[in-house]
Symmetry: C2
């Protein structure tokens, strides 16, 4: 089956909740490393990808559409242009693998969805994208289920730790260091991040510095 992936991406000053442990240049490098992991996994499923980028950007393995409106508006602009199934996947999912994506793409339902932590939505796969509208921010998982009902879609919720783990905060970095296999993990290691053990708990350290 042919389908096309949409990957929203913010190249400039992304991931501000990581500001406590990375400067802006490092956050931009880390966001790009995570994006590469996502694009690689998408490509391995045999699928092409378009970045919906908030500013001009060059990517060797994906098309780039520059859209300076909000996330929902950018997706709603792109979706009606698809005449094939569409995969909407966030750029901050560095644990993604082709195998985990394959579980999404092989759904028998009209739509497959993967929740993010805290009520969010990390991945949506739409066999018939036309009627759908994006409802990101807040409890978007529940809003997207409601939208699917409005469209009359059958829905499968895909139960995946790898795809549910979006990286926003310092505490999330440990997941990349433990379970990551790609560029994002390499990037963190190059910056000196390591898994730290203290009093039976696990956290991250950067060089000699423990990050509380």
């Amino acid at each position: 089956m042919y389908f096309h992936a949409l990957i929203p991406f913010k190249p400039m000053n992304p991931k501000t909740r990581l500001s406590c442990v990375m400067n802006q240049e490092e956050r931009e490098g880390f966001a790009y490393a995570m994006l590469q992991d996502v694009v690689t996994a998408v490509n391995r499923t045999g699928c092409s990808a378009t970045l919906l980028s908030t500013s001009p950007y060059t990517c060797e393995t994906a098309l780039v559409a520059v859209r300076d409106e909000g996330l929902n508006e950018a997706i709603d602009w792109a979706l009606p242009q698809f005449h094939c199934p569409a995969l909407i996947i966030m750029a901050d999912l560095p644990l993604v693998t082709a195998r985990s994506l394959q579980r999404v793409l092989s759904t028998d339902a009209d739509m497959a969805i993967v929740p993010g932590r805290g009520g969010g939505t990390n991945v949506i796969f739409l066999k018939k994208p036309n009627c759908f509208h994006a409802r990101y921010y807040g409890s978007s998982f529940q809003k997207h289920l409601a939208m699917a009902e409005e469209c009359g879609f059958t829905v499968e919720v895909i139960d995946s730790f790898r795809l549910s783990t979006d990286i926003d905060e310092k505490e999330d970095l440990v997941e990349v260091l433990i379970h990551g296999k790609g560029k994002a993990r390499e990037y963190l290691e190059a910056l000196g991040f390591t898994v730290m053990h203290e009093k039976g708990r696990v956290g991250v350290a950067r060089g000699e510095k423990i990050l509380d």
Copy 2:
């Protein structure tokens, strides 16, 4: 296939990291509600269960062994007594479903393992429990993979959001309210917990009080 589940459980003063939002009696009630969800899912797979309880306790749907030593010691005491495959599952996984457990139990490998967030281990399934020793606390996921290698086991890592989500902190409660389907969700709702939306982020509130 017949197998038996081991569920470590602490009835008295459990889940102290939830003390900021629940008193001791409420935490004990919540821990029991989560346990019920786990035992129910285990039973639905056609399997019996033994609680490894840190103090005397009565449970209608599981055997209870009172063990006042540490978690690893209690499991290592129990495992050699099994002459069938063993499932070691934590009691604080209220998103568990029989379907998610079935993915663990149907592994072709000698051992299946589900990581918890932050380097932990939430579920281990052992077809030949005898040689294995528990290594909980700290980066137990990596320690258990090393133990499997020592035993010469083939390993499958099961990729499940439901089974990776252990409930320890206030921030985790929102997952129960959004994705839970059992007693733990009912219990939180009865205490007045609700999903709260503010500035595009999601959290929990109790009654009128927003919990920062």
